[in-house]
C-alpha cells in the first residue's frame, strides 16, 4: 500500500533532513568552510564526466574556430590575390610609362642634336611586325608630314614615308624588299646600297661594294646622302659578314642598328633637299 501523501514517514524524513542539514551547515560555518572529505569524494566522483563535457566542448569550439579561421584565410587569400593582380597591372602600367618616358626623352635628345626640323610620331599599326616591313604612324599631312621623309629612331635609320593621310602616314622600313638606301662605311668611306630582303631580316645585303674596298666585320654603316632621301651620316647598322663575292664586288651584309620588332616611336625628319639642277640641265 502506498503511504499517504505527506505521511508521517515523509514528514519525519523531511524533519531529519532539515535538522541534519542545518547541523551540517552550521558545522561548516564554524569551521570556516574548509573542504571536507565528503566534498572531496563527491567532487572526485563527478569530475570525470565534467572533464568529458569540457573536452567535447573545447574540441568542438576549436574545430569551429579553426573552420572560421580557415574560411577567413580563404576569403583573405581571394582578396589578396585580387589585390595582387591589380597591383601587378598597376606596376606594369607604371613600368610601361617609365619606359615610354625614357624612350621619348632619348628621342627628344636626338631631335635636339639633329640639324633638322623633326616630327615625333608613334606607331599605331605595325601590320604584323616583324613580318611586315611597312608601319603606320600617327602623324600625317596635317602635321607637316611629306612623302619620302626619313624616319629614324634613337638607334638608327628606320625607313621613309611612302604614303600620307591627313593624320597618319605609312613608313617603309629599310628591311622592306623594295627598299634601298645609299650607305657608306664610316671608317673607310667605301660606298654601296643597302637593300631590303624577304629572307633574313636581321642581316641586309649591301650591294655594289668594290672588291678592293676596305670593309671589315663590325664597321659602322651610315647613310651616304646620295639617294637624295636620307641625309648623310645617319647610323644604319654594322657590318656583320664580309666575303669575297663574285668578280669585282664584295659580298657584304649589314645588321641594322634598329630593332624593328621593338619599334614604338620614330622621328620624321624635314630634310631640305637641294634642287636637282644637274638633272634639269641634262634634260
Amino acid at each position: 500500500m502506498t503511504p499517504p501523501s505527506g505521511s508521517v514517514r515523509s514528514r519525519i524524513l523531511l524533519g531529519a533532513v532539515i535538522v541534519s542539514h542545518l547541523l551540517l551547515i552550521s558545522g561548516q560555518v564554524e569551521s570556516g568552510g574548509e573542504r571536507s572529505v565528503l566534498t572531496s569524494i563527491v567532487f572526485g566522483a563527478i569530475a570525470p564526466p565534467r572533464r568529458a563535457v569540457s573536452a567535447v566542448y573545447n574540441g568542438t569550439r576549436n574545430a569551429f574556430l579553426d573552420y572560421i579561421d580557415l574560411r577567413d584565410v580563404r576569403n583573405e587569400n581571394v582578396r589578396l590575390t585580387a589585390r595582387l593582380r591589380l597591383l601587378e597591372a598597376e606596376m606594369n602600367a607604371r613600368r610601361r610609362q617609365i619606359q615610354e618616358a625614357e624612350r621619348l626623352r632619348i628621342l627628344l635628345d636626338l631631335s635636339k642634336r639633329l640639324p633638322f626640323k623633326t616630327i615625333a610620331a608613334e606607331l599605331v599599326s605595325a601590320e604584323g611586325i616583324p613580318w611586315s616591313s611597312v608601319v603606320t604612324v600617327n602623324r600625317g599631312g596635317r602635321q607637316g608630314v611629306s612623302l619620302n621623309m626619313p624616319a629614324i629612331c634613337q638607334s638608327g635609320v628606320v625607313g621613309r614615308v611612302i604614303e600620307i593621310g591627313p593624320h597618319a602616314a605609312k613608313v617603309q622600313l629599310i628591311i622592306d624588299r623594295d627598299s634601298g638606301i645609299g650607305v657608306l662605311v664610316e671608317r673607310s668611306r667605301a660606298t654601296g646600297v643597302l637593300e631590303g630582303t624577304t629572307a633574313n631580316r636581321t642581316e641586309l645585303p649591301m650591294r655594289f661594294v668594290p672588291s678592293i674596298a676596305d670593309v671589315v666585320v663590325g664597321d659602322a654603316i651610315v647613310s651616304s646622302g646620295l639617294d637624295q632621301i636620307y641625309p648623310k651620316g645617319l647610323l644604319v647598322g654594322h657590318v656583320s659578314r664580309v666575303s669575297r663575292g663574285d668578280g669585282l664586288l664584295k659580298e657584304v651584309f649589314v645588321a641594322p642598328a634598329t630593332r624593328f620588332d621593338q619599334l614604338e616611336e620614330v622621328l620624321l625628319l624635314h630634310v631640305q633637299r637641294p634642287a636637282l639642277d644637274v638633272v634639269d640641265s641634262v634634260r
Partner: protein, 161 residues
C-alpha cells in the same frame, strides 16, 4: 533500476549545466536542470523520492559549482521536493499548464528559501535579481514542461513495446 535512472538524470543535469556554463556563460543561470529533475521526481514518484533525489542533486550542484558551504541547495531542494510531492498528490497535477505553474512557483520558492537559509547563517551568496529570478522561473517552466512530456512519451513507448 530505481537508483540508476535518478543517478543518470542527475548526471545528465550536470552535463547540461556544465555545457551551458561553457557555451553561454552569461545565460547559464537562467536554467536549473537539477531543480527540474527534483520537481519531476517529486511529481511522478512522490515527496519522499523527490526529497532524496533533491538532496542528491543539491549536493552535486553544491560541490560541482564551488559552494563553500555545502548543503544549502540540498536542503532547499528537499523542502521544494516535499512541497511539490504533497501538492501533486493532492491536486493531481498532470497537465502541461499545471506543471508549468508548479515549476515556475517552485523556482521562485527555491530562490527565496536559499536566500533565507544563507541569511540565517550569515553567508554571502550570489543572489539573482527579482527579474532574473522571474526569467529563470519562466525558462525552467518552459524547458521543464517540454522535457517532462518528452520523457513521458519515451516511457509510454517503452511500455507499449
Amino acid at each position: 533500476m530505481k537508483v540508476a535512472f535518478p543517478a543518470f538524470a542527475i548526471l545528465v543535469a550536470l552535463l547540461i549545466q556544465d555545457g551551458l556554463t561553457l557555451v553561454l556563460p552569461a545565460h547559464a543561470r537562467f536554467l536549473d536542470p537539477f531543480l527540474l529533475i527534483t520537481i519531476h521526481f517529486a511529481l511522478t514518484r512522490g515527496e519522499t523520492t523527490g526529497m532524496l533525489i533533491g538532496i542528491a542533486a543539491g549536493w552535486v550542484q553544491d560541490v560541482s559549482f564551488g559552494a563553500r558551504i555545502l548543503g544549502l541547495i540540498a536542503l532547499s531542494r528537499a523542502i521544494i521536493a516535499y512541497g511539490v510531492g504533497v501538492l501533486a498528490h493532492r491536486l493531481l497535477i498532470t497537465g502541461a499548464l499545471g506543471r508549468a505553474i508548479v515549476v515556475f512557483l517552485a523556482t521562485l520558492l527555491d530562490a527565496w528559501i536559499y536566500e533565507r537559509l544563507a541569511g540565517m547563517f550569515d553567508l554571502r551568496i550570489n543572489v539573482l535579481s527579482f527579474t532574473d529570478t522571474l526569467i529563470r522561473g519562466l525558462v525552467n517552466a518552459l524547458v521543464g514542461v517540454t522535457a517532462y512530456q518528452l520523457i513521458e512519451r519515451l516511457a509510454q513507448r517503452r511500455v507499449r513495446r
